[in-house]
Amino acid sequence: MLMEFWQYAFEMLVWPGIIGAAALGFFYLWIARKLIARLQGRKGPPFYQPFFDFVKLLGKDTVISQGVSPALFYMLPFLSLLATGFGLMIVPVPGHTVGSFPGDIVLLLYLLEVPVICDVMAGYVSKSIYGQVSAMREAVMSLAYNLPLLAAVIALAQSVGSFRISDLQAAPYGLVTGLAVIAFFVAIPARLKSNPFSIPNAEQEIVAGAHIEYNSAPLAIFELSHAMEVVLLFDTFFVLFVPRLSNPIANAVLYLAVGLGLIALVTLVAATTARLTVKRAFRFYWLWGGLAATAAMVVAVIG
């Protein structure tokens, strides 16, 4: 009984819990900043910069605007952190074996939505008009990219016949998997709010995004949860679409390689594109994503 408690504590806190995912997430975010700097011909931040940003934010005083409820102000980042923490615990990544139960992919998708809802709420409860515009844009973007993303997962589940992660992992590769990979990958820049879908964080238009009134420790927790969200997204991609190798070390190396490859691709897209308007982004996701999703569903139902 005690052994199990320590095991759960290890999983929740160290790997794949908060500390391990934060370390890996900050590493991915640093790679993204350094790579985009290199692609822009400049030097970029020194090693592990997002971690130092996080620690510095923890050491500042908190300033809450008049009229904002302090309970909501402090609760939203922790909610986001808890959701990503729980999500990390149910994904079978290298170094963490977890039993799969029916519907766990649905639970994972719901948990992945919670940070977005926390961001939207953070924007709405701020007393700033820029925060509210950013929250509205984030909500619209979420509606946009979730169509192809969820439809891809549903099509995959339909072709396999179950909503269990272990069954989806074991599924053979086919046209449905290919379309699902494309739909998932196209949704990642919108989740990470990087170009061309950095619409909620548009600096020249709405100053700072949904976190405009956030500062110090709550902002630090939001940054931490953002780093963990990156790891969770890449974990989901790895679990659904990358074949498992039998050797555990090779599996771990493949996991890191997939993570680095994904962040490099997302950064390349961010460096070479400009921000789209909300209408164009919505049309892109619903038109092309909708077509791909429909095609995937049709193939899954027929084949």
Partner: protein, 177 residues
């Protein structure tokens, strides 16, 4: 695919960022922090007159002389003082203006001391030797060295004394008619 070309070239070439220690080269007309060589200053106040933001001012040094005060925090680095100083006491060597937390490091005060006139004892600021050498284009003779320490009135008296001597005593010390 223009942007992909640019991005690939940036990736292959590496960063173009200068390190904080490597300042980009300064072109010759760069106007940096001014420096004053107080041994060349005559106290003519031309620099304070042309200074648009009043960064240069003159003050008293407790009856022993005058002070030349410069506040780099008011300077607009236009270089007019360098251009108008008749003895080229103020120079521009391309030195960088300081970055400091202590505002007193931006202030410079030089003292230009009075000397008593060799004739009447009035306090004067003698014309600096180096300035006289610039005017005459050669090193100073004894006559000039002696006349340097006189005030205007005494110098005029000395000069008219030389002319009177030249007329009254031709062939004497200072040449004949």
């Amino acid at each position: 695919m223009g942007i992909l070309d640019i991005v690939w070239r940036n990736f292959a070439h590496g960063s173009r960022t200068r390190r904080l220690k490597d300042m980009p080269p300064r072109p010759p007309p760069f106007r940096g922090l001014i420096e004053q060589d107080v041994s060349l200053c005559t106290g003519c106040r031309a620099c304070a007159y042309v200074c648009a933001p009043n960064a240069i001012s003159f003050g008293d040094a407790h009856e022993a002389g005058i002070t030349w005060n410069f506040f780099a925090g008011q300077c607009s680095f236009c270089g007019l003082c360098v251009q108008y100083c008749p003895t080229h006491a103020i120079t521009n060597n391309g030195k960088l203006p300081p970055v400091t937390g202590d505002q007193s490091k931006l202030r410079v005060t030089h003292e230009i001391l009075y000397h008593p006139c060799a004739g009447c004892g009035r306090p004067i600021i003698p014309i600096p030797e180096a300035a006289l050498e610039q005017v005459y284009g050669a090193s100073l003779t004894d006559l000039e060295t002696e006349q340097r320490m006189l005030c205007d009135d005494c110098r005029r008296k000395a000069a008219s004394g030389h002319i009177r001597d030249a007329f009254l005593h031709p062939g004497g010390k200072h040449g004949g008619a």
